[in-house]
């Protein structure tokens, strides 16, 4: 017997998660009562293109159905003290039928990189499919829709923010866009594009073709984005990548058999936060999210990460009372369609090492999010990691600027071009920098300048001779541990954390907390059906400050130690005061 109040099914459909509101799933006459019940202040309203246009030529914004009256929705929200933020899909929307396309435009199934059609199960158990956005008719119809939407917002003086969203999912730890398509529709559009790019008799290598394919995908995606930006003018705030938990083929097949555990989703949630991609659980029913996953989504996304991302297009959030993700490492990974051909951080066992020693306290940066990390966060010192094959002019300048400002950089030389290899050498010579060389598992170079450090290592030349075998995760972990130990990182490691989900966040201290420099928040969740006990040895820099939201947990503090026993479904938040 459950002692918790069951959530009504209608409420599940209308509020599917993280403050999203599906306005088309309920009567406009009920909007006010529903929004009044809603706990948050910021409501995410995804725009449903096919709900406003069945034909693609004619549009309904309160002309026929009251549920299409977005002006009224914004006014009602304001009346009950809430703000509406609109999300506009700039490609397939996996939570809508036909990926959001009006029915008559859904002609050719979009295919993923395995050439399998995208199948999605929504929170109500409906089977949804995604259709190609590379059909020129879809693009023309989208253009008409956003123009009409822009006119509607302008003529009705609706000043709510509209964010363009690019939807995706996780395939293992890799984020994949639903925009990616290998259907015949895509192929024929791509062939036309290639004809404009290459000479008549020119034969492309598979790598060149892959590069062009990625460039074409980005170009078309960019066209959808620029049309929306131009049509929506001042309302258009920017673009967000959104990862739909449970939206990949693997999880789709698991969900078909109704044999899926919350850990399948929580892993995607944490990878998503590490990659600065907004996680969304709107495809999951409240039944699937019951227990700790629901708490994780509320604590880490709905009440923390999402408001911070929407408050400002810049990553840094100015409100000092808000906890932001704690990260010690910023790991750069270029996304260009070719990265899988080169040595990856996974090949070097980096993720295993970081997860085991620092939990999810790292950020994975791509060319899309590099700008967000351009400025130095005042109370978080990072170690930046780059692959040689990802270094171009922009990244090279970023490395030198960060290093000269006292930053800490690690570069894997694998794939470093001759040009940038020479540029590094020239930089060292011109600035009269001493390069210390050491061989530890592989060739390592260390350069220091004031507080700045630059370490270069040869990822391709790990010493297989001394190991007498192919290096494995344990060998790489040994390398990473020795390397990272040469940097100073103020951190409280957690022992026996297997099976536990945990996440660190941080904020600067407020005026009444001046004895600390920083407050770190540790959220712990036990998704297993076993009792789990963890122990943390606290260095002199850490004191337990507050224990919050204790559910099925026993917390005991000792001098320089804290012990936490979590029952199944248990969770707790512990705040630590940190000083130097």
């Amino acid at each position: 017997m459950s002692l918790t109040t069951p959530v009504p099914r209608d409420q599940d459909s209308v509020f599917p998660g993280e403050n999203w509101f599906f306005y088309w799933k309920t009567s406009a006459s009920l909007w006010k009562s529903k929004l009044q019940e809603f706990p948050g202040t910021k409501i995410i309203v995804p725009l449903n293109w096919s709900f406003h246009s069945e034909t693609g030529d004619q549009f309904d914004f309160d002309d026929h159905r009251p549920e299409t009256n977005l002006k009224k929705l914004v006014e009602i929200a304001r009346e009950v003290g809430k703000t509406v933020v609109f999300f506009l899909s700039l490609g397939p929307a996996p939570f809508l039928s036909n990926g959001g396309l009006p029915h008559f435009l859904a002609r050719s199934l979009a295919l993923n990189s395995e050439e399998m059609a995208y199948g999605v199960i929504d929170a109500d158990g409906h089977l949804l499919k995604i259709y190609s956005f590379f059909d020129p008719r879809v693009f023309e119809a989208f253009d008409k829709f956003v123009k009409k939407l822009g006119q509607y917002f302008a003529s009705n003086k609706i000043n709510s923010d509209i964010w363009g969203i690019r939807s995706g999912y996780f395939k293992e730890e890799k984020y994949q866009s639903y925009f990616e398509d290998h259907s015949k529709t895509f192929e024929s559009a791509f062939i036309r594009y290639l004809q404009t790019k290459k000479k008549e008799d020119e034969k492309l290598t598979p790598i060149e073709e892959k590069q062009f394919e990625f460039e074409f995908l980005k170009t078309i995606q960019g066209l959808y984005e620029s049309n929306a930006r131009d049509s929506l003018k001042d309302n258009f705030e920017g673009v967000l990548d959104v990862a739909f938990l449970g939206g990949g083929t693997q999880n789709f097949l698991k969900r078909l058999a109704e044999n899926i555990s919350t850990s399948d989703f929580s892993y995607e949630l944490y990878v998503s936060l590490a990659k600065d991609i907004v996680p969304s659980s709107v495809l999951l029913s409240h039944r699937l999210k019951k227990g700790v996953l629901n708490r994780e989504l509320n604590d880490l996304v709905a009440n923390s990460y999402l408001p911070a991302r929407l408050a400002n297009s810049a990553y840094e959030h100015e409100d000092i009372t808000t906890f932001l993700p704690l990260s010690f490492f910023k790991v750069y990974e270029r996304i260009d369609g070719l990265s899988s051909l080169f040595q990856s951080w996974n090949d070097l066992g980096l993720w295993t090492f970081l997860n085991a020693n620092f939990g999810w306290s790292y950020k994975i940066i791509s060319s899309d999010t590099l700008k967000m990390h351009d400025t130095k966060t005042p109370y978080q010192e990072h170690i930046h990691l780059f692959h040689g094959h990802d270094i171009d002019r922009v990244v090279f300048n970023f490395i030198l600027k960060t290093f000269m400002n006292g930053g800490r950089i690690i570069v894997n030389r694998s794939g470093l071009s001759e040009e940038f290899d020479k540029r590094f050498e020239t930089f060292f010579l011109e600035n009269n920098l001493t390069v210390e060389k050491v061989t530890f598992e592989t060739k390592v170079q260390n350069v220091s300048l004031g507080e700045g450090r630059l370490v270069l290592f040869d990822g391709e030349a790990f010493n297989q001779e001394s190991l007498k075998k192919q290096p494995d995760d344990a060998d790489y972990s040994h390398f990473w541990k020795s390397l990272v130990d040469t940097f100073t990182i103020v951190h409280a490691p957690i022992n026996n954390a297997e099976g536990i989900d945990y996440y660190w966040r941080t904020r600067p201290s407020s005026t009444n907390e001046l004895r600390f420099e920083e407050v770190r928040r540790l959220s712990l969740y036990n998704p297993t059906s076993y009792r789990k006990k963890i122990r943390m040895n606290l260095s002199k820099n850490f004191v337990v400050y507050k224990v919050l939201d204790e559910i099925n947990v026993i917390v005991q503090t000792y001098p320089n130690e804290i012990e936490i026993e979590l029952s199944p479904d248990g969770s707790v938040i512990v705040d630590f005061g940190v000083f130097s």
Partner: protein
């Protein structure tokens, strides 16, 4: 060991590394049974033990994929061996094209799942049938 009735294998015929290979091969992308996904490690071990002709070919195959199989016949043989190994009643092999057609024609997840388990190239484990119903009680 849990009793399995149906195994479904979704396969594709493609060139894994176009810069190094010219001939397409067959690869198993997903393996599932009526209760969910099959554990890939066991299925991969069976492939490595009995179906690998050239070990250099499998080095670049992603962890979640089984192959290469040089012909449909070899894939069928592997499917049958897997079926026997897991003592399943039958295995259905579906190409990604068949999978896509099935998905396009279904409106509910339940119906799609039902057909996924039954449609495709069905290979029956006759030995298990012979053992029959009573064998479950006399192990």
């Amino acid at each position: 060991m849990k009793e399995i009735d149906y195994i479904v294998g979704i396969y594709h015929h493609f060139i894994l590394n176009p810069s190094e290979q010219f001939e397409p091969n067959y690869y198993l992308l997903y393996l599932l049974d009526e209760k969910g996904m099959l554990e890939i490690e066991g299925a991969k071990d069976l492939f490595k033990e009995k179906f690998v002709l050239d070990s250099s070919l499998i080095q670049k195959v992603p962890n979640n994929v089984i192959g290469p199989f040089i012909s449909m016949e070899t894939l069928n043989q592997y499917a049958f061996a897997l079926c026997e190994e897991l003592n399943a009643a039958q295995i259905n092999l579906l190409s990604v094209k068949e999978y896509n057609a099935l998905l396009e024609n279904h409106q509910t997840a339940q119906d799609f799942h039902k057909d996924l388990l039954e449609k495709g190239n069905v290979i029956e484990n006759i030995e298990r049938k012979k053992k029959g119903f009573l064998s479950r009680f006399f192990k």
